[in-house]
């Protein structure tokens, strides 16, 4: 059974990450506030909703292109599921052993097929918005 030792030092990277994120966010906000030009207008002050008109009934039709993009996204999103176990296992292999080469080959093939699919979708004009 595990004994749960609370070792503060091992959390240091997470702490640093949190601090960096806070500093980065605060810096950007303050910098744009100080440096950026300030303009007002109807478009400018409206809610940003990924290019859609945010006012009106929520039950109106979406552009069909949202579905196409969503489906494309779904496929690539799920790909991550395979990359995680692969990465965990790959880190434990002996470097430059034939096994690690085979592992790399497998994942390259896998990513390669996705890239082919991506290029096909691109050429097909899935990402074109007109």
């Amino acid at each position: 059974m595990y004994t749960f030792a609370f070792d503060l030092q091992s959390y240091a990277p997470i702490g640093i990450l949190i601090i960096m994120a806070l500093v980065f966010g605060a810096f950007n906000l303050i910098a744009t506030h100080l440096l950026g030009p300030t303009r007002h207008g109807e478009e400018k002050e409206g809610t940003y909703e990924s290019g859609m008109e945010p006012i009106g009934s929520a039950r109106k039709r979406f552009n069909i292109r949202f579905y196409i993009l969503a489906m494309t996204f779904l496929v690539f999103d799920v790909e991550i599921v395979f990359l995680y176990p692969w990465a965990v296992t790959f880190a434990k292999l002996v470097p430059q052993s034939p096994e690690s080469a085979m592992f790399l080959g497998r994942i390259s093939f896998f990513i390669g097929t996705s890239i082919i699919a991506y290029i096909y979708a691109w050429r097909k004009g899935v990402f074109r918005w007109d």
């Binding site: 880190a91 434990k92 292999l93 002996v94 470097p95 052993s97 034939p98 096994e99 690690s100 085979m102 082919i116 096909y120 050429r123 097909k124 004009g125």
Partner: protein, 534 residues
């Protein structure tokens, strides 16, 4: 691992084909786009021809598969029947759009070009069947079965621009997704029963269960039955047959022919592999009683109900496609007898029958794909009346393929039925074979109609308006199929020997494994290559 990759070369060829076809399909040049079916056929033939060279005896010996040699036969057969199917699909997709482009009325629009995609799906589906041949675990089997099915759903929807095709696709997809869920749950139970997903290990565990407890445990039996019911969807067997008529009617004839062969071949191969983990009587070592009784009963009922429903259903139809759809159900019922009979005549018979069925069914559908009336497919049986006067070759093809489907003696279909029925009798399932015989008699009712109407009858007024389609390739596929139906019976012995060779590795392996199994084997020593870096 490398040995397995070696067997996958036909699939890799098909995959390269997928890439090439996708590039050609999106080309700006019309000539490239119109060469897509040709490229598909080239890659299908290349994959089929490569197979015999790859399946050398040493390689097959080294492969740790449940049925190491089955791909040697199956990939070739599926490849060549798929060539006929691909011929039928020429000119099916984008016909109107390409005509507009040719006449200069439309410009190239990637969103409207579908031909490349259709043939990509075609190749992927065939690739799925090939992959099942090398399946040695449930994950692989599951993914391969899905690779066969998912493209077919899209193919149905794309096959013609009518609402019927889309409705058929949705029906096919939803019921297919449900069937997938069912056999997936069966796989989970099989895994629970044995603690392994590897088919060869699963067979050893089942053998150990039989030796220790006198039978496969309940979880295993339930899991197997649920899996079989799910896979029954792919072979269009009862109780999963109800979609067949609607889907085949909605899809274009060429795609219906595809649905009647490719998923069916995949389903039967999957079933053979699944049942192979439990083994048949006399083939799973001493003291083995073969398949557990509940599973035999399930298969028995599936076979009897499927062929009866199929044949009675076909008798009641007036639409040719629905008639052929129900006949496809009935033929699945005949083939399930082979699954019950087991290795030897049974399994070899199933492999043989799949070949025969693929050819004769493709020929029958090719007649429908090759004819049209006012740009629409012909619907009713009466449309075929007196076909001989206007299109003699198509009439003869229809008559020959229907006669073969019925099982008229010298033809290919008869040989297939013979092996399966003899296999059934040999293993003592005489009542089932009698039911099958009666069913063959019932089937004469509608097959004779299909034979006689085009040849003997006078053309009806509506039959006069039938013309041949624009593309001549579907008709060529029909003629090739008809020639094969007549010629192949001469080579029956050779073909049967091939099926025998493709299954024999499985028998030896199983006989050797029995007795030497130990379910409680300690874990394998860790692989040195996987040692941690520290």
């Amino acid at each position: 691992m490398i040995e397995k990759l070696w067997f996958l070369i036909p699939e890799i060829i098909l995959f390269i084909g997928v890439c090439v076809v996708s590039i050609m399909g999106l080309s700006h040049h019309r000539t490239w786009r119109s060469a897509v079916p040709g490229a598909t056929i080239v890659f299908l033939i290349a994959a089929a021809l490569a197979t015999p060279f790859l399946y050398t005896p040493e390689k097959m010996e080294a492969a740790e598969l449940l049925m190491p040699r089955v791909g040697w036969y199956f990939k070739v057969i599926v490849g060549f029947v798929s060539v006929l199917l691909a011929l039928m699909c020429i000119g099916l997709i984008d016909r109107r759009y390409e005509a507009e482009v040719k006449a200069g009325r439309a410009s190239f629009d990637p969103m409207r070009v579908n031909r490349g995609e259709f043939f990509i799906f075609f190749l992927l589906s065939v690739m799925g069947v090939n992959l099942i041949c090398s399946a040695n675990d449930l994950i692989w089997l599951f993914l391969a079965l899905e690779l066969v099915s998912l493209p077919t759903y899209v193919m149905v929807a794309m096959s013609r621009p009518s609402r019927k095709a889309q409705e058929a696709a949705v029906k096919y997809f939803f019921l297919g997704a449900m069937a997938t869920g069912v056999f997936l749950y069966g796989f989970a139970l099989l895994y629970g029963s044995t603690g392994t997903i590897v088919l060869t290990e699963m067979r050893d565990v089942f053998a150990a269960q039989v030796a220790e407890e006198g039978g496969v445990n309940l979880l295993g039996i339930v899991g197997m039955i649920v899996s079989l019911l799910g896979v029954a969807y792919k072979i269009a067997a009862a109780p999963m047959h109800f979609y067949v008529a609607d889907v085949y009617e909605g899809a274009a004839s060429a795609v219906s022919a595809f649905l009647a062969f490719v998923p069916k071949a995949a389903g039967f191969l999957g079933m053979i592999l699944l049942l192979g983990t439990m083994g048949w009587a006399g083939h799973a070592g001493e003291g083995s009683t073969g398949l557990p009784m509940p599973i035999v009963t399930t298969l028995w009922m599936i076979a009897a109900i499927t062929m009866t429903l199929g044949n009675v259903g076909a008798l009641l139809q007036t639409s040719v496609k629905r008639m052929l759809a129900y006949s496809s159900v009935a033929h699945s019922g005949y083939m399930v007898i082979g699954l019950i009979a087991g290795p030897g005549l049974g399994i070899n018979g199933v492999l043989f029958y799949l070949t025969a069925y693929g050819i004769m069914n493709t020929a029958a559908f090719a007649v429908l794909a090759g004819l049209e009336r006012k740009k629409a497919e012909i619907e009713t049986v009466d449309d075929l009346a007196g076909l001989r006067f206007k299109h003699p070759s198509m009439a003869i093809v229809m008559a020959i393929s229907a006669a073969s489907l019925l099982g008229v003696p010298p033809l290919l279909g008869f040989m297939g039925k013979l092996y399966i029925f003899v296999g059934g009798v040999e293993t003592g399932h005489i009542p089932l074979v009698i039911i099958a015989g009666l069913n063959s008699a019932i089937s004469a009712g509608y097959y004779l109609y299909l034979i006689g109407l085009p040849i003997l009858s006078q053309p009806s007024p509506q039959a006069e308006t039938i013309t041949t389609g624009e593309a001549r390739w579907p008709r060529l596929a029909g003629v090739i199929g008809a020639v094969l139906i007549i010629v192949l019976p001469v080579f029956t012995n050779y073909l049967y020997d091939a099926t025998e060779r493709s299954t024999e590795g499985y028998l030896d392996e199983q006989a050797r494994q029995i007795g030497a199994t130990d379910a409680d084997e300690p874990d394998e020593p860790p692989d040195p290559a996987l040692a941690t870096r520290e």
